[in-house]
């Protein structure tokens, strides 16, 4: 247990979530937008950063900046130690067996591309099948389309139910002996649905397929244990977890990583190079060609410390409270349709208003200081599935308050007023 968590547990009753104190940790929240206090509800796109993360980045560049795994000088040793300490923090956060199972990448997108181009190209044959779902983000669709084009494998899609859930029965029907890989989001970015990934992984393993879980929308909201899930690959981004942009993580079981060819070639990923051949490093360095995002990794480590200190379960409970309040208010609004009504959701509320396009909703909310995402959320197939051109999406984080939910609801009513 980190000291910060100890302090928090001793000073805050377990069932009281001190948002005021948490908000004081996030400088960007304290500003006015169009003359109104900022209500930041675009957390599924990216979260604001706590001071601790900002300070760690600043301190790294002020004091320790050096390249990693290269120098014998003091700064390089400090930078390397901090970079590898961040990897260990990620290991604990995901409960991976070894820090060597964690590859630092730019984000979830790069992690998925890495698996597709390295594992996928080495293992897929014509007519093999890759199974995805109808509710995936483009980043968990396009890399597999590209891979299928390169290998002759086929893409199969599990349809989504009307409420945004995935049916395990329909999924099981699509799995078959040709299935080599399943790629599924832990939580849908457009709808908020928490998918039954543990069960899906177990079913895939029965057919001999490996499973990649896109955890970008899960790790900020719920405890993830990759060994309990038994997933083969798990990907997430730092910036949705209060960390910096440009840093993310690919978890992979060591047995898979050891057999995978490099994703990119360059420095740091090799033990020896001649003009005839190169001897590649062991994982994870084999997959980290070039100078990595050292500051980003260290910043991600600080973000994980922050989340640990507050407690991921407490964060999840708080966000569920906000979601329930927002859902109750919105569900009663005439002409409003909530897209994604699965019983198990993270704090994401996607909605459309009759006769008001999502972009107009977005602008009118912005004028009232309320930041939401409007558009297709990089999930055009989801929009087509629910027959909407776009939605407005409010997404909650640990620093949002019930009062902010009320501001959102009032702002949506105002949008309805403007459009009569």
């Amino acid at each position: 247990m980190t000291p910060a968590r100890e302090i928090l547990l001793h000073t805050v009753p377990v069932d009281v979530f001190d948002t005021e104190r948490i908000r004081s940790d996030f400088p960007a929240l304290h500003q006015a937008v169009h003359g109104q206090p900022l209500v930041y509800l675009d957390n599924a796109a990216t979260t604001q950063k706590p001071l601790k993360v900002i300070e760690v980045l600043d301190s790294y560049y002020r004091n320790d900046n050096a390249n990693v795994h290269r120098g014998v000088h003091a700064l390089s040793e400090r930078a390397t130690a901090a970079y590898e300490a961040a990897r260990e923090k990620v290991r604990k956060f995901l409960n991976a067996q070894s820090p060597q199972e964690l590859v630092f990448v730019r984000g979830t997108t790069e992690a998925i591309n890495l698996v597709a181009q390295s594992w996928g190209r080495a293992n897929l044959r014509p007519n093999d099948e890759v199974v995805i779902t109808e509710t995936e983000h483009h980043s968990n669709i396009v890399p597999w389309q590209m891979l299928c084009g390169q290998t002759g494998a086929k893409l199969r899609v599990v349809p989504a139910e009307d409420n945004g859930e995935l049916s395990v029965e329909r999924y099981a029907q699509i799995l078959g002996e040709r299935t080599r890989l399943v790629a599924v989001s832990h939580c849908s970015n457009a709808l908020g649905t928490i998918n039954p990934v543990k069960q899906m992984i177990s079913l895939a393993h029965e057919t001999g397929a490996v499973v990649l879980v896109d955890g970008a929308q899960a790790v900020p909201h719920l405890a993830v244990d990759v060994r309990d899930l038994d997933c083969d690959f798990y990907a997430f981004s730092g910036h949705k977890l209060y960390g910096p942009t440009g840093i993310g993580v690919l978890y992979a079981k060591m047995a898979l990583l050891q057999d995978m060819p490099p994703y990119q070639g360059g420095g740091e990923m090799v033990k020896h190079v001649s003009f005839d051949h190169a001897i590649y490093h062991d994982p994870p360095l084999r997959f980290e060609a070039g100078t990595p995002n050292i500051a980003g990794a260290i910043g991600l480590g600080a973000a994980i410390d922050y989340v640990d200190a507050v407690g991921i379960e407490a964060i999840g409970r708080h966000e569920q409270d906000l979601l329930a309040r927002a859902t109750a208010a919105m569900a009663g609004m005439p002409g409003l349709r909530i897209i994604g009504t699965a019983p198990e959701k993270t704090g994401i509320l996607s909605f459309v208003l009759q006769n008001i396009h999502a972009h107009d909703v977005g602008t009118i909310l912005d004028m009232q200081g309320v930041a939401v995402r409007v558009g297709h959320h990089c999930a055009i197939p989801v929009m087509q599935r629910y027959q909407v051109p776009a939605t407005a999406r409010a997404s909650f984080a640990l620093y949002n308050t019930r009062e902010e939910v009320d501001v959102l609801v009032a702002a949506v009513y105002r949008a309805k007023e403007v459009f009569g």
Binding site: H34, G35, Q36, N355, I356, H357, A358, H359, D360, T363, I364, M367, Q368, V374, G375, H376, I380, M383, P389, A390, R414, V418, F419, G420
Partner: protein, 148 residues
Amino acid sequence: MMTDLRSLYEEVILDHNRNPRNFQHAPPAANHVAHGYNPLCGDELSVSLRLENGIVTDIGFDGAGCAIATASASLMTESIKGKTVEEAKALFESVHEMLTQQGSAGDLGKLQVLVGVREYPARVKCATLAWHTLQAALRKEQGTVSTE
């Protein structure tokens, strides 16, 4: 704050959004058609028109978009009908200038209500989509014109 909102969502814009003119109107014997798409937000519309002796004798549009895109398309069809190709192109230039540059582009009549959009850079492409599509139709380009 509501006053600010009204600077974008003027009554004329709201009216043209609620009751778009020349909407879902396919001119008989239309000889110029183009399809417009804004990949950023998914707005889609098509413009079809009848060009006779260099004059736009009839024009209509169809599709789905936000209030700004719809009102802009509606106002455009009203102002283009009866214009020569050269006049239509000149109007496109003036509207484009009004939406993207500070300062006056001259009196654009009813189209002037769109001027509020330029304070919202993220929304300028909503307003220009119909106009780009019109340009494509006049050039008789095939396929889809994109704002990106």
